[in-house]
């Protein structure tokens, strides 16, 4: 990936390693989140899946893309709770956003499973 020529701060151009893992913890600790699915569905990343089968590394669960200083975060979650699933999705987005402060973020959360 090419770095943007006019990156405001060097630190904003590449997601620091470990952020995805931190965010996974953040998402999993929101009450009602029962599972986190690979951010990229398997059928969209056959090459990635094959690679990960070879290297033994799991597919990334939280998707991160840095665009001109704004971090785009993607998470696909399962919700199992008597509390409303939409509220859980909002809390997940909010928790991600607060964890990344003061960095700007665009957060996308998909609920792909509701109930046990």
């Amino acid at each position: 990936m090419t770095e943007p020529l006019e990156a405001a701060e060097p630190s904003a151009s590449t997601p620091p390693t470990g952020v995805a893992e931190e965010l996974l913890d953040v998402v999993q600790s929101v009450p009602g989140v029962s599972a986190v699915y690979p951010a990229q569905p398997l059928w969209q990343s056959i090459a990635g899946a094959a690679l990960s089968a070879v290297t033994g590394e799991p597919l990334p669960l939280i998707g991160l893309t840095d665009t001109a200083g704004t971090l785009a975060v993607k998470a696909r979650i399962g919700v199992s709770t008597p509390r409303p699933a939409p509220a859980v999705a909002r809390e997940v987005a909010d928790a991600i956003r607060r964890h990344l402060l003061p960095r700007a973020a665009a957060v996308e959360v998909s609920v792909v499973k509701v109930g046990s």
């Binding site: 699915y37 999705a89 909002r90 987005a93 665009a106 959360v109 609920v111 499973k113 509701v114």
Partner: protein, 190 residues
């Protein structure tokens, strides 16, 4: 040997009789009833077919049960990907957040509510209407199977109420109607 040639003395062939067994069609059906040779040929082919069924049963028995390990390991290899269906938008607090529920997650939720009722199982379920535009009126169609002997109308009413409650909790859809169709009546298992 009973059949030195494929053609019988009456002029019919075993190939014709073989096709007759599968399709029920032959040029002169009346002949079959009166011709001992054709009768013998048909009997021989039917006996073979019966033996074929025995071989099939024996092979299926040798193949093992579908709940055995071999099938489980095949199923474990499949890694069936969830079918997402349409993306249903949810309201977000922050303008830069985008939140969704997949249509697949909602139909699975509907099935789990139906299945949790004793004596009912869900079939196909559909969300009619543009779920991708908030506020659009949505009609839910659910097919169910009911175990014989349970009052279907009462059951459908209870289910409709429970589905309405569940969908109001877990979605932001504007549900206009929930239509439940009983497509199967199941025999109670002993």
């Amino acid at each position: 040997m009973n059949y030195p040639r494929d053609t019988l003395e009456c002029g019919h062939s075993l190939a014709e009789l073989s096709a007759y067994l599968d399709t029920g069609q032959i040029a002169d059906p009346a002949h079959l009833d009166s011709c001992p040779e054709c009768q013998a040929g048909l009997a021989s082919l039917r006996k073979l077919s019966a033996l074929g069924s025995e071989l099939l049963s024996s092979d299926v028995a040798d193949a093992g049960s579908g709940s055995d390990d071999w099938m489980q390991s095949i199923l474990d290899n499949l890694r069936l990907e969830l079918r997402p269906g349409r993306s249903i938008p949810l309201q977000s607090v922050h303008p830069d957040d985008t939140l969704w529920e997949t249509e697949g997650s909602i139909s699975a939720l509907i099935r789990s509510v139906v299945d949790a009722h004793p004596g009912t199982a869900a079939g196909k379920c559909r969300l009619h209407g543009d779920v991708t535009t908030p506020g659009t009126l949505i009609t839910v169609e659910v097919e169910i199977a009911v175990v014989y002997g349970h009052s279907m109308e009462e059951r459908a009413d209870q289910l409709r109420e429970e589905l309405a409650r569940t969908l109001a909790t877990h979605t932001e859809l504007a549900i206009e109607a929930i239509n439940i169709t009983v497509t199967d009546v199941l025999e109670e298992q002993p």
